[in-house]
Symmetry: C3
């Protein structure tokens, strides 16, 4: 059995944003030499997500509006968590979008449907944050 581990760093300049990290994950798989197995990709921060969906800017705009409706940032004082913090909403948004994805590796490639792409979802940005990539297989 082979295993591989790498941290990826991201710095989203605004509070919220989505970054397509698919090619970076494929590069990790190539580096790992794993042909058949699983790759786990997870946010190492609890106000960020890793998720799989469409790379379409209209949809990303829709997600932002939708998440803000389900878990609004304002009023900041509406959350008990926000004592010396202002990111309670980000902890909610991250639960909707998810912490992690697990993806099959087949013949050394991400085993994906036509439109599947992996995103880092930032809900409390303007600072450096990490994603963990862990691969097991052979």
């Amino acid at each position: 059995m082979k295993t591989f581990r790498k941290e990826l760093w991201f710095n989203v300049p605004s509070r919220r944003g989505f970054i397509n990290i698919t090619s970076q994950i494929q590069n990790c798989i190539s580096e790992s030499k794993v042909q058949e197995g699983l790759v786990l990709v997870n946010a190492m921060h609890i106000t960020a997500s890793v998720f799989i969906n469409d790379d379409e800017s209209g949809l990303h705009h829709d997600y932002d509006i939708w998440l803000e409706k389900i878990a609004p940032h304002e009023p900041v004082s509406g959350y008990r968590h926000n004592v010396g913090e202002d990111n309670a909403d980000a902890h909610m948004k991250r639960q909707i979008m998810g912490r992690e994805v697990v993806v099959a590796i087949t013949q050394g490639e991400l085993d994906f449907g036509t439109w599947e792409q992996i995103f880092y979802g930032e809900f409390d940005g303007k600072r450096k944050k990490r994603v963990l990539v862990k691969i097991i297989g052979e």
Copy 2:
């Protein structure tokens, strides 16, 4: 280490619907000969889900009403994604219900609690779509 891969195809005749796929996943495990390991089951489409919950028609009705309230299909024009598309709501519903499940395999069986069942959740149906089953173990 053994690995196994199979695609399952589904065609839900309505826009939305839930299909119990538990026995098909168990069949994959049996075919794989894996006794101890993990099975990943994921939608290969970004407007569908794979999730684990109860096989109870009242609950499925409740889910449909609830998801439609959180992410309504209409008005279609309320989403920027819907330019030549009408399925933005399906991309939201799928995030709530999830893309994938990872289930333990123990002694060659799905290692499940009493009421756990695996479902394919369709939010933009009336066409053939795929689920990926990937098994690793020994």
Copy 3:
């Protein structure tokens, strides 16, 4: 390849509650002797969650209020599932918070960011319920 399996039991005395189970999961990893691999932690019940977020009581209060707003317990008669049951809301809350987490094991430890902690989330308590821990690796 090594594999390991253990069930953890919890009895939350109220309808809803969150329990930090991180140290119990780390103990399972130590017991398994796995140095590099993956650990799956999932609720074996369909009205409970396992999720990763912050161990902060204000946030947990916020989650409870937020989930109750998205999927209210009352009126119980508002859900078709609630025929001889009163827990339909718990099935919804569990989908938001998730059934399972998959965590990397590196050098025999949970490979976590600074604030990541694993929680059992109960949405229909006052009885004994189980969490499954399955580890694969070497």
